[in-house]
Symmetry: C2
Subunit: 374 residues, 2 copies
């Protein structure tokens, strides 16, 4: 959704700090956040094309925009010829969406409603639900839940969802970021050792008993937290593997809330150790069976030589790295869970083994690793 907190700007080209989210809920950074998402042209452009290049699908239709934010998708739908657009937004961004609609002379078509999708009522069923609900690695934020609630409440049986499908991918990559991460981790442990010495010397207090806990904290943070990244296609060591596809017309809330479990098989085509698995997603705008889009639009967050979308990709660094050789194959399973403490955050568990004829494949045992997506 446009009002989600996906659109965190990068600072100096570095990974956006997960804690930057708080900033987006400051009263004075609403528009800054919207600007940041809107000017991601791969994102905004895909939605724009999905609407205006498929005007035949929108002509005379009733549309619902779930989490309209600035109102931009509702405006695209109206410009594509929709008869009526309900633009639902939970936050006070609704006020600005209303202004924008009026300023663009679309108030006879677009009706902005402030409220949550779970509580609002509409006077009619809708033909199309449009929404930008995607989070990091597709599912972070769990905003798709609201779209599915909206579908079950408001979409006509032959209605369409924009996007209609979403897919999740993994690909093995080379990554200097993972080396940096390891080095930062080691520096952090050294810093702790010096700190413990320093406390003993200055205050005669021995903090050594906290060593294991500090080590655990830092291991969790540096080695087991997925990192935002902007991967160049040349870093990919083989073709990506699609391990999950969602058809938004049929997926259930129960399925979304349950752990996602899937298998993957990643052929290694080029030499060098696998330093990370890179996770990303794409979404497709196919319309519905009864009302197919004329031009299928794809919004992809795959590694791209022209730079990443604001979602980037998620790097799951592997320590130690996997000494694969061309012809090997990384075979395993992935499990995605929502965190108990905060259902918008996630945990990723993987189990994998290198298969093939290389020495490493023959000698490397299977591994289990977990990462947080913060």
């Amino acid at each position: 959704m446009a009002s989600s907190s996906n659109g965190i700007p990068q600072k100096d080209g570095k990974e956006p700090d997960p804690t930057d989210y708080a900033n987006y809920f400051c009263t004075y950074s609403f528009l800054y956040h919207q600007k940041d998402m809107l000017e991601d042209h791969k994102r905004t452009g895909a939605y724009h094309r999905a609407c205006v290049n498929n005007a035949q699908c929108f002509k005379g239709k009733v549309v619902l925009d779930v989490g309209t934010g600035s109102g931009i998708l509702a405006i695209f739908a109206a410009k594509a010829g929709a008869k009526k657009v309900y633009a639902v937004e939970a936050t006070s961004m609704a006020k600005f969406a209303r202004q924008l609609v009026a300023h663009n002379k679309l108030e006879s078509v677009v009706e902005v409603i402030q409220g949550t999708i779970e509580t609002v009522e509409l006077p009619e069923k809708v033909d199309i639900i449009i929404s930008e609900w995607m989070g990091y690695f597709l599912l972070r934020e769990s905003m798709l839940d609201s779209v599915i609630v909206a579908r079950d409440k408001f979409l006509k049986p032959d209605g369409a969802l924009y996007p209609s499908h979403a897919r999740m991918f993994l690909v093995p990559i080379r990554s200097n970021q993972s080396l940096q991460r390891k080095s930062d981790f080691e520096k952090s442990l050294e810093g702790w050792t010096e700190f413990v010495e320093d406390m003993k010397e200055n205050y005669q207090v021995d903090l050594g008993c906290l060593d294991p806990e500090y080590h655990k904290e830092q291991t969790d943070y540096f080695l087991h937290t997925a990192q935002w990244c902007d991967v160049h296609p040349e870093q990919m060591m083989g073709p990506p593997c699609c391990f999950k596809e969602y058809d938004l017309k049929t997926v259930t809330l129960e399925e979304l809330k349950a752990p996602l479990r899937a298998n993957f098989s990643l052929p290694v085509m080029s030499p060098g150790p696998i330093e990370s698995l890179c996770g990303f997603f794409d979404t497709h705008f196919k319309g519905s069976k009864e009302n197919l889009t004329y031009q299928e639009v794809i919004l992809s967050t795959a590694p791209d030589a022209t730079g990443a979308t604001h979602w980037g990709q998620q790097a799951f660094h592997m320590f130690p790295r996997v000494m694969a050789q061309p012809g090997d194959r990384l075979v395993g399973s992935i499990e995605l869970l929502r965190k108990k403490e905060n259902h918008r955050l996630m945990q990723v568990n993987m189990e994998f083994k290198l298969e093939g004829s290389s020495p490493a494949a023959k000698s490397t045992p299977s591994r289990k690793v977990s990462w947080h997506i913060e």
Copy 2:
């Protein structure tokens, strides 16, 4: 308090982002946060001296540490000779405090209790309350409230608070940071103008109606938010003015919750425009009337050539700057309010006028300015 979120580390020597707080509530950064506060030696050292250099005041006494965090202040009190120390901590840091106490063989003296000060019960009244409760500009975080609750619940009538007093200061400074801030603000507005053009060109949507709101957001953020700073004494344009002193023995919860209103008069001793007012605090360890400390310890966050504490100072930049000359005096009033949305954050309102014989003093009207402390 040790478990407060004061101790945010600086990143590359820059102001810690207010949103870094969130990170400190991640399950895996508890100890990182504690380390950061403990290794601020101006802070930890002051508490250490207040205890061990005043062992006579602690000998045989019952002590309460409010918000013990790692347990370090409770340990200092025990090492200074306290008979019994109750160390109260609301978060799960209590577990580590307990480990640290045992590891330092003080479990016969220090009892760690997990709970909030508002709900815990102690089997006896205490002679001394020790606590590190200070936030940015002293009062941010509003942690002093808990100490006052503890005092009213548990402190003997002739008991002492460590620290016993706190003072707040303002001083006019020169600051390149304010110029940078202004320039960042202007860049941000230019970026918005380009963005609006870009949206019109790419998507035929006119966002111009949001110009005033974006301008307001960015003005609030860049020009009316106090900034963490590490001011060198040479930047000060005159002596600081103490505008408020708290005697922790007598201040009431009502007084703390009400707006703080005070006057200030800042003599300008050196030339150059006043770019910012710099706000800071100190705390004093004087003991109580009945049990004075032998050595009065001061923990100061004033501008210091050896570098700031982790609190730094707060810079209230002034746009436009005040064209003061030596001999002038900046005279005004300050009002500090807790924010309605979040009582741990604050708003600062000032009204001031330049007085003196310089041309600027004669021609400059009085001004009202507000800042957020985020």
